[in-house]
């Protein structure tokens, strides 16, 4: 990847992370950990790979995104605002009565949100259906399915994966956010996930594992998936829950964070200031 392009993606990642933090602090609470772990992924998708028209969210030629771990809605909203689907002011309405940005994504409310999710597991089957329909209609489009590692506890995920592999839906790029934590703690302590990459391979997926905070590696993995034409494809992202902000990475319970204590507020404000500085400096170079 050219240096300039990478810089642009890193700038977008910083902006997304910045807006996630601003939203959650303004709201007073929110699903922080799982939102931050997919920031770089969303940056690579919306900054490089995804085909979309922000002025025409329902464009028939667009690639589609299903974030099955719906509680990461804030990261999606921050991304969509940054690439022009709607104004950033709207981000401050998160979870307010009457908002178009509910905690869990709603395709009937938010421009750019392709599928409603929130009940873990369900997005996987819908993405499978979208991919199958695209193939049957001879449409050259992709659907990107983002799944949580905790979410993989749901049997429905494996029903969907079996389906995707059976139909060789290589236009459905399955991306697993392996941040190694779920709601009640580490995945290994809640219910042993074993080796996710090996499980995907056993299910018939061509699978790549990359660092989830590395835009270039993510981008390369997506390119590689697009070269595969005879099987289902998946990417296991090695991420950190709360990624990119050390304080929140280390916070024991960082699934849903409340900003009702000074420590959390200070840490968030410090992160916001740092990110703002980074954005300002990068803008000079991009």
């Amino acid at each position: 990847m050219e240096k300039h392009e990478l810089m642009k993606l890193k700038l977008l990642s910083a902006n997304i992370r910045l807006d996630v933090m601003k939203m959650l602090v303004h709201c007073g609470y929110g699903h922080l950990g799982g939102s931050l772990s997919i920031v770089e992924l969303l940056s690579v998708l919306y900054g490089k790979h995804l085909r979309y028209d922000a002025t025409n969210p329902n464009d028939d030629n667009r690639d589609m995104v299903v974030i099955s771990k719906g509680h990461s809605g804030p990261a999606w909203y921050a991304t969509l605002a940054n690439v022009g689907f709607f104004d950033k002011e709207m981000l401050m309405t998160l979870n307010e009565g009457g908002t178009n940005l509910p905690s869990h994504p709603d395709r009937t409310k938010t421009p750019g949100v392709d599928m409603t999710t929130g009940s873990l597991g369900q997005g996987t089957s819908v993405a499978a259906g979208i991919a199958l329909a695209m193939k049957r209609l001879n449409q050259n489009r992709y659907v990107y399915l983002i799944v949580g590692d905790g979410e993989l506890n749901e049997g429905q995920c494996w029903e969907a994966f079996q389906f995707i592999a059976n139909y060789k839906l290589n236009n459905c790029i399955v991306i697993i956010d392996e941040n190694k934590r779920q709601l009640d703690g580490y995945t290994i302590d809640v219910i042993n996930p074993f080796d996710i990459k090996k499980k995907m391979e056993a299910f018939g997926f061509y699978t790549i594992k990359v660092k989830g905070d590395d835009e270039e590696a993510i981008s390369k993995a997506i390119d590689e998936c697009k070269q595969v034409n005879n099987s289902a494809v998946s990417i296991v992202l090695d991420t950190i829950k709360g990624q990119g902000i050390t304080y929140f990475e280390n916070l024991i319970d960082n699934h849903s964070v409340k900003f009702n204590n000074q420590e959390n507020i200070d840490a968030a404000n410090e992160a916001i200031a740092k990110l703002e500085k980074f954005v300002k400096e990068s803008l000079k170079n991009v």
């Binding site: 719906g70 979870n95 009565g97 009457g98 869990h104 905790g150 009640d184």
Partner: protein
């Protein structure tokens, strides 16, 4: 017997932690009591059971259907399972398992489905459950309770553990206003007359019982005399009580944080059609609406589930030809 608290604005202990505490006490006395969770231990407080009674705790991961089946299986060997997940995942995600592995196979599953109706608040429409009562009512012999305060929920948990079968408890996780004094005792399947009155009968369940009592006071000020029943057991329903108390009333109001289609409203209507006395009825609850995100106050207003709504509907009903 039950008694009402003097100060109805007093907030009780958190509902979820009351369930946890009651289960822990039961576990101290009976090693066959087990708690099952689906990665919501932080939300339900069941993580505390994991620490205090590790041998009586089963973490199932985010796999609610599996959890119901596991609970059913454990009950076959004598365990007394109490499972928790959010109410939508009980009835929408795992109902087939509750139905067949549980009910039809004559196994036991005690279920705490938390945050029903508007109490899903900031989790929004995807997590909002208005249909749970309707769905669970179709399960033969299931027991359904909508608990109104911490005293009642503690009593219900203890009572469920004595019984075999499918028992569904729906309630907020958060603390709610107190209705009953700490020494109050109840009877499953028996409604409680909380306030007597001559003109109107309000039948409510769950935390809206407090709002029903508010509404009764507001109506009283307008010269309308109101009786209030806490119908915390929605199934089996206390049909006798309804038949007796409707006598001489001008109107019946049902009031629930759930869909009236198949909910408390429908259940009460089923009894009223068989009463010799004709009476005006208004079912206050949800009709043809999905949930949405917002604060509890916002949602109660939006869904017309406040005491003021009850007052307004009552007056409208009385003026209706």
């Amino acid at each position: 017997m039950y008694k009402l608290v003097d100060d109805r604005n007093k907030i009780g202990a958190a509902m979820n932690l009351t369930v946890v505490k009651t289960l822990q006490q039961a576990m101290n006395e009976d090693e066959m009591v087990v708690a099952l969770e689906a990665d919501l231990g932080g939300a339900s407080g069941f993580s505390k059971i994991k620490s205090s009674h590790p041998q009586q705790f089963v973490e199932c991961g985010i796999a609610e259907a599996n959890m119901m089946g596991v609970a059913a299986g454990m009950s076959m060997l004598g365990y007394k399972p109490f499972v928790h997940t959010f109410s939508p995942f009980v009835v929408r995600r795992a109902f087939d398992q509750v139905y067949l592995s549980g009910g039809y196979a004559k196994n036991t599953i005690n279920i705490y489905g938390s945050d029903p109706g508007y109490t899903s608040a900031h989790n929004g429409g995807t997590h909002t459950t208005f249909e749970d009562i309707a769905i669970m009512r179709t399960l033969p012999d299931a027991v359904i309770v909508d608990a109104c305060d911490d005293v009642q929920i503690a009593w219900v948990v203890k009572e469920f553990l004595k019984l075999k079968g499918i028992h569904y408890l729906r309630a907020n996780r958060k603390a709610v206003r107190k209705v009953y004094t700490d020494d109050s005792r109840f009877k499953l399947g028996k409604g409680n007359v909380l306030k007597t009155g001559n003109d109107i009968l309000i039948i409510a369940a769950g935390e809206l019982v407090s709002d029903a009592l508010d509404a009764a006071e507001m109506l009283q000020e307008k010269g309308i005399s109101v009786e209030v029943i806490d119908m915390f057991t929605i199934k089996p329903l206390d049909e006798e009580l309804i038949k007796n108390e409707v006598k001489g009333k001008k109107a019946v109001i049902t009031f629930e944080n759930a869909s009236v289609y198949g909910g408390l409203g429908s259940a009460v209507n089923d009894v009223l059609v068989n009463c010799p006395q004709r009476v005006k009825v208004k079912n206050i609850g949800i009709r043809d609406l999905y949930g949405q995100v917002g604060s509890v106050d916002y949602l109660k207003k939006t869904f017309h589930l406040t005491a003021a709504d009850v007052v307004e509907e009552t007056i409208k009903l009385l003026n209706r030809e």
